[in-house]
């Protein structure tokens, strides 16, 4: 027996319990050989590196076949929805951006769209703000899909896919940092528009990125698409047909891998998506390989949208990025200095030296915030993982009465059982990776 006090065997009323910490498989095999029963229950996670975050899988095995699979979630629950009820409507963006940390702009976007609908200012959002939102969301779709492909590759042992995936994602995060000041958790999309105008030179950087990605994306295809090992692990694994998807509420690449072209950007366009030329990507195999190919193809479509958005932004220099209503938009047009932060000296001179009313207005709007008419709204967006929607309820106050997020990771993770029961243990990992759950979004 091992000397490690954490790794050993103990007897419970449920049967014999082994704690596995690695390099102790012989001991488990010897221990199990004494058991008459074939059936074992494996607790995988919540710290297992292949479970896409702090996901706990409870697998009942017979040999290497999974007979039952269940998920244990909640390890990353941070009470974001509750916290939002104690902050102003604008501050809410700062909280919800942290939920699904791989697609922060989508979290902000669905919440902001809900608030804007309640404020009834949907038609007043400046064009430049809408184009910038689309640009950021599509860049975000690329970075999110890259992480999905990268971690999915890593989980099946394809480490090169991981390294090149994170290499390209870093380029997207650099663009985010240039535009919003932060790599993640941006809180950049605000009710009424976006927080800042594009910095000088951003469009050139974006065009450079698109050109580079057009060279790099074929590398993924060359590395994976026809790779026999890759296909052996992915083809026909994690199968879920259209009926199953609808019953379990699955959306996004999983739904599109059944051949059904359902994409909210086309079916319920928001933020001007109807003006962009792109195709909804589908596959007809309803398996993990199809979902991988869809994500790869969607990155190409995102590049197309980014190019169109960049062209439109080139013609919108100096246009407003915030709604004209001064009771919603913060009056301060803060300027970012060379240190990445800083205030507009002109504005500070104005509010501190020239206008008492402007100072009061600024103070009230920042501390108290604006009031949102009572009611409820639900405006979903197509996040990289599927339908992400915020149910925003207002009682007419300066804070959300309730904000609930329908996160696609949460809903899609329910398919773990149907996708993996009856298959091999190793296929559970592939099935979950093909759902691409982000635990920050699942647990919120």
């Amino acid at each position: 027996m091992s000397q490690d006090i954490y790794a050993g065997a103990s007897e419970t009323t449920e049967g014999r319990v082994f704690t596995v910490t690695g390099q102790d498989w012989d001991q488990i095999a010897d221990g199990l050989a004494e058991e008459v029963e074939e059936r074992i229950v494996v607790n995988m996670g919540p710290q297992h590196p292949s479970t896409h975050g702090v996901l706990r899988l409870i697998l009942e095995l017979e040999g290497e076949t999974v007979t039952e699979a269940r998920c244990g979630i909640g390890y990353l629950h941070t009470g974001i929805e509750k916290n939002m009820e104690f902050r102003s409507w604008v501050q809410g963006v700062t909280f919800c951006t942290r939920m699904d940390y791989l697609s922060p702009f989508y979290n902000e976007m669905t919440y902001v769209l809900g608030v804007e609908r309640l404020l009834d200012i949907e038609d007043q959002i400046p064009e430049k703000a809408e184009v910038m939102r689309v640009l950021l969301m599509e860049l975000n779709r690329i970075s999110s899909h890259l992480v999905c492909i990268a971690t999915g590759g890593m989980e099946i042992g394809a480490l090169t896919v991981m390294t090149i995936g994170f290499r390209e994602r870093e380029l997207v995060l650099d663009l985010f940092e240039l535009i919003t000041g932060l790599r993640m958790n941006h809180a950049f999309i605000r009710p009424g528009g976006v927080a800042q105008d594009l910095p000088p030179g951003a469009l050139d950087e974006i065009r450079g990125f698109v050109a580079l990605m057009k060279k790099r994306l074929p590398e993924y295809a060359a590395l994976c698409n026809a790779n026999p090992i890759f296909k052996a692990r992915l083809v026909d694994v994690g199968h879920l047909d259209l009926e199953g998807c609808l019953a379990l509420g699955l959306t996004g690449p999983v739904l599109r891998s059944t051949g059904y072209p359902w994409d909210l950007r086309k079916t319920e366009p928001y933020s001007g998506y109807e003006d962009y030329d792109f195709e909804v990507q589908t596959w007809d195999t309803a398996d993990a390989y199809g979902r991988f190919r869809i994500r790869l193809n969607e990155m190409w479509e995102s590049l197309k949208i980014i190019e169109q958005a960049a062209d439109r932004l080139a013609g919108l220099e100096g246009a407003p990025v915030m709604v004209g209503d001064k009771k919603i938009a913060w009056p301060s047009q803060l300027a970012i200095g060379s240190d990445g932060m800083g205030n507009s000296l002109d504005h500070i001179r104005h509010i501190m030296g020239e206008s008492m009313e402007a100072l009061i207005h600024h103070f009230k709007l920042v501390t108290e915030g604006f009031r949102v008419p009572a009611g409820q709204a639900y405006v979903p967006v197509e996040s990289p993982r599927g339908e992400l929607g915020a149910h925003v309820v207002s009682d007419g106050g300066t804070r959300p009465f309730r904000a609930h997020f329908r996160d696609p990771s949460f809903t899609n993770l329910q398919a773990t059982s149907v996708m993996s029961e009856g298959g091999m243990v190793a296929d559970v990992i592939v099935a979950i990776a093909s759902i691409d759950p982000v635990m920050g979004g699942v647990d919120r």
């Binding site: 979630i73 009470g79 104690f86 019953a247 509420g249 639900y378 106050g397 329908r406 329910q414």
Partner: protein, 239 residues
């Protein structure tokens, strides 16, 4: 005013039948700024305003809202549930059906299966706690999507705090499984007929239901440079 003066009976002077929808007060807001625990010197301290949610809409509705409502009425009438829908609210072009809780499973099945309705996808279940909405404190809100017709509706049921029971719709929409568990976890709403209604996000032995309005946010005062900042739910705030 003479006895023969009937001007108030002429059609143009008649008081129109009230088109103001029935409104339900779900709370009261006092003062102008919602300051609590310190003197309100603004002079608006005595101001009392009811919190009113958008009221029921009047028939006929616009566009497909009318189609969906009629189709649902017809289908429910056939099933003998004419009164299942208590009211219909249309606000910001989103339609909400307030449904009697005992009829929810039939309404859900009808919404999914009727060819004119076809709401195949349940987006989710969201709870809302209105502590001042007496007798209907807990609301469960269902967002439904019809991919066939590309329409979205919202179905809302309510239950009193004293009897927090709502029938489960997992049998119709299996996706409601985790969503109902989450709503139970966060609000204490018990979904009767759910296959395994256990906590999902909070630990199994957690006391209370965190998203209820009577559940404190929690937090500790933070000291910084000699000053103390109280936790967010105890700060002076605006409502």
């Amino acid at each position: 005013m003479s006895e023969n003066d009937h001007t108030d009976e002429t059609p143009e002077n008649a008081v129109p039948a009230t088109t103001e929808p029935e409104v339900r007060t779900v709370g009261v807001r006092t003062g102008m700024f919602g300051a609590k625990g310190s003197g309100d010197t603004s002079g608006y301290g005595g101001l009392v305003q009811p919190v009113v949610l958008p009221g029921a809409a009047q028939r006929p509705f616009d566009g497909w809202h009318e189609e969906v409502t009629s189709a649902l009425e017809t289908a429910l009438g056939t099933a003998g549930l004419e009164h299942a829908v208590e009211s219909v609210v249309i606000h910001r072009r989103e339609i909400t059906f307030h449904v009697r809780r005992e009829d929810l499973p039939t309404v859900a099945r009808t919404l999914r299966d009727d060819p004119a309705l076809r709401f195949e996808l349940l987006s989710g279940v969201s709870g809302v706690h209105y502590p001042a909405d007496e007798g209907r404190e807990l609301h469960a809100v269902y967002h439904l999507l019809s991919m066939t017709h590309n329409r979205r509706i919202r179905v809302e049921v309510s239950a009193p705090d004293a009897d927090p029971h709502v029938p489960s719709i997992v049998a119709t929409y299996p996706t409601a499984d985790w969503h109902e568990r989450e709503t139970y976890d966060m609000f204490g709403l018990i979904f009767d007929g759910h296959p395994a209604l256990t906590r999902i996000l909070m630990p199994d032995d957690w006391p209370g239901h965190p998203q209820r309005k009577d559940y404190p946010l929690g937090g500790i005062p933070v000291e910084y440079k000699g000053g103390t900042v109280p936790p967010p739910d105890q700060r002076r705030s605006y409502n």
